[in-house]
Each structure stands twice: as structure tokens, then as C-alpha cells.
Amino acid sequence: MELIDRFRAGDRRALARAITWVENGRPEAAELLKALYPLGGKAHVIGVTGPPGAGKSTLVDRMALGLRQRGQRVAIVAVDPSSPFSGGAILGDRIRMQRSLSDPGIYMRSLSSRGHVGGISQATGDVVAVLDAFGFDTVLVETVGAGQSEVEIVGLAHTIVVVAVPGLGDDIQAIKAGILEIGDIFAVNKADREGAERTVAEIEMMLDLGHMGEPGLNRWPAEGPLPGGPAGYQGLERLDPTGHHKDVDELPPGVTAPARPGGGAGAGGEGPGGAPTAPQGPGGRHGSVAPGGISWRPPVVKTVAKDGQGVEQLLDRCLEHLQFLRESGRWEARQREDAQARVQDLVARLVARRVLDRAAAAGDLPRLTEAVARREVDPYTAAEAILRRHFAEPPGRPEEPIS
């Protein structure tokens, strides 16, 4: 495919077209994703989520510039909601990203949620995979303005920044159940406004409550992300017990390792500094940690995205979180979880498409759905009938695992 050759050669138009194909689910997209898969797996994916108007785009703009200054190549993906009436969308996040978008080392793409309700679009994962394969060091993903249920970014990003704003005490309560749980880092943006300290304190308090007795439990599903959100958390006993220290070489360019166990990392910023938190024994400020384990206690950073204040600290925390993922073994665990989720998801989709296509071609699908609509048949019976007839197992079903 000409496109793949041009993509591999670093042609940005080819990148843009590849994303279009993936977004539209073109038949060529599967070929493309297959060809690109070996190139991926390197980018740090940072999700930025929070209520509408919190300043996500403005913050992402600043973060992208800051990462550029640290020598990284940066891609931005911003998702906006589609109109439920027309399916169209107005994608306006670029308006707030003017500073970074004049930098040729930054690529930005606006996506419509296309009817999907989880805060990102169905294709966002594949779009990120394409950007990863293109060679970006960091991919920043801005979600739709989110509340309690738009948490699908969990399955996509390695590090999640939840953006909150001052003066919305009730709002914090509202997001507590949903997006507060998924934050690895909290940015209290618009800190130029009154009430920022209080918002920081409220979030800290909720984090402390959430952490009491459960140190280091963050947001990682124990058995891979299941549809519908995290099914549990990965406990400390699953962490690399040595808590061993990776070479500084492996960090993104321009980043130095923060002071490690014993020192308490990154204390220089806003709030009580970023984790990884060194083992402190019982009674540590944010709960204790199993012997030898390291945990991540989400730091809270004040930012003023409008003028860039606090953004360097925020980026430091993001990079520390990446380091934490690597050192704790969670990065690798995550690769396996993602692989499992992807394969399961694709099998489900491929099977569904094949069965439905056959059923439609045979006329069974329209006939049965019509009967269900008239309440002559119930949907379960209809689905079972379609499976019985159109989900024939192919001959020579492998007894041996596929290698």
C-alpha cells in the first residue's frame, strides 16, 4: 500500500489519511493497523479529562509545548461530542491550542465522539495506536467534557490527568464517584480564581479517605479492563517486590529521575509533591505500603493554563507516573491487559459482523427483527435462532492452540 510506505517515511499527510481510514473503519484500515502494529507500544499516552470548560484544551496546549521543550515529539487527540440529532459535530478544541499548533513537531487531530458515550469515540484507541506507530513520544488525549460515566479513557491512557476547577464544591461531589476515581494526577486549573486552595484541600481529603487502608491501590483492573469499567484493582502484592530502579537512560529525554525511595519524590511542586511514594511503614501520611512495595498516591497540582503556571510541575508528575508504571511492573502488566482486551474485543466484533452479515443476506435478520418489533418473538429467542443458523463452526476446529 502506497499509504503505508509514505507513513513509514514520516509523511504527515499519510498519517492524517491513515487516521481517517481508521476512524471510518475502512476495509483498508485493518491492513494498515496490522502493518503498523510492530511499530507501536512506545508512546506514553496521557488522558486529560474533566468537566466541560475546565480548561482541558488550554492545558493540553501548554503541556504539549512543555513536552516539546523537553525534546519530545507530541501528538494531541481531542474528542468533542457529536450531535445526537444529525450525527454531525463542531470540533472546536483547536481554538484553544493556538500556541502549540504552530510548532511543526506537534500533530493535532480533532475527533467526534460519533455517538459513543464513554468520553472518547469508538475509534480513539486505534487512532492513538496509529500515532504511537508514527513515532510520537507522548500522545495527549483530551476527552469530551466528562462527569461520572465518561471514564473509558481508563482503558486507553497510561496516565490520567483529571482537571478540576475552583468554586464548584458541589461539582467535586458530583465527579467523586466517576472521574475522581480514575485520576492519577489532579490538576486544579484556573487557580487564579478564588477557592483554588479549598478545591485542592477537598480533593486531597477525598484521596486520603479513598486511600485509607488501601495504599497504592490505584485504578488498575485486576483481570484486564472489562466493558463497563474497572472490575477491581491490582493489589500491591502483584507489584514487583524489588521496586527496582530503572536506568535514567530509559526516561524520556530531558527528564531526570526523581529522588527515589526514602527521599519522597518531587516535593518541589504544588501540593504535597508527586509520588511514587516511598514505603513509609504504617501511619504514613497517605496510608502505608507493603514492605518493599511502591505505590502511587495521586498528586494534586494547581495550574493556570491561561498563562502556563504549574504546567511544568504537572508534566513532572506525569513523567514520574510513567516512571512509576515502569518500575512497579504495571507498564508491562498493562501491555498484557490491553492485548487481552483488544483481542477479545476484536473477536467479538468480527464474529458479530460475520453472523449479522450472513443473517442479513439470508433475510433472517430483517424477518426476525420485524417479528421482535411486533412482539411476536422475544429478542433473546431471535438472537439464539440467528446464532444457531448462522454461526456455524468451521470444519477442522483446532484442537491445538493457534501458534
Partner: protein, 135 residues
């Protein structure tokens, strides 16, 4: 997944009249298109770069401040420099009749002046987007 038509609605230069651009953006959205709006005061090269990154089918320029004869050809040149030759370029706003031929000669497909019918704009856009090759 359906192939959505993607439109970049652009305002160039110092022109601060954005009502028309917003009306057009909304009309496209309501017709099921995906609209990327980049805001006011854009340089032609920034719009061209956005068109590349967003892989749009249509670049729709709204111009009411009289700089259309310099800024629109400049934008088209910037697109060509980036190898973009498969987008539909439309212009609208306050553009005198006598300037239209020059814009068409530069590659604008059609110019829609004040009072243009939105349905007609949508229909024209739908009929004239070029389906892109590259497979």
C-alpha cells in the same frame, strides 16, 4: 462506520466577523458533517496545516473584511505547497461580484455571498466533495 464529510471552517487575517462562519459551521453540523472550527485571526499557513492534520474534505473560508483577494490565494498556495490537491475550497461572506472570477481561477469552487441559502450550500458541498484516492 459511515464516512463523515469533514469541513474546516476558517477565518483569515484580521477579519473579526464570525457570525457567518458560525452559521455555516452549525448548518454543516446539522447536515451531519464534522466541522473543525479554528477560530478567528488565522494565518493562511496555519489553516493549511490544520487542513492537512485534520484531513478535511472541504476548506470553507468566510471573509467579510475585504482581504479575500490576497489571503485566499495565499491559503490555496499553502495547501498546494503541502501537496493538498484533493480538497474542495469554498468561500463566502462579503465578496464583490467582480472579485469572484479571480478567486475561481485560483481554485475556489464557488463563492457564496450574503443571504445565501444554507440548504444550497450544503447540497453543493455534498455534490462536490472529491472522494479521495490513495488506496
Amino acid at each position: 462506520m459511515e464516512e463523515k464529510i469533514r469541513v474546516l471552517v476558517a477565518k483569515l487575517g484580521l477579519d473579526a466577523h464570525d457570525r457567518g462562519a458560525k452559521v455555516i459551521a452549525r448548518a454543516y453540523r446539522d447536515a451531519g458533517f464534522e466541522v473543525i472550527y479554528t477560530g478567528l485571526f488565522q494565518r493562511p499557513e496555519a489553516v493549511a496545516e490544520a487542513a492537512v492534520q485534520e484531513d478535511v474534505d472541504v476548506v470553507a473560508v468566510s471573509s467579510l473584511a475585504g482581504a479575500h483577494l490576497t489571503l485566499i490565494p495565499e491559503l490555496i498556495q499553502q495547501l498546494r505547497d503541502r501537496g493538498v490537491d484533493d480538497v474542495l475550497i469554498l468561500a463566502g461572506g462579503v465578496i464583490p461580484e467582480e472579485d469572484v472570477p479571480a478567486l475561481l481561477a485560483h481554485g475556489v469552487a464557488r463563492v457564496f455571498g450574503p443571504g445565501s441559502d444554507l440548504d444550497e450550500i450544503i447540497a453543493f458541498t455534498r455534490e462536490n466533495v472529491r472522494r479521495r484516492a490513495w488506496s
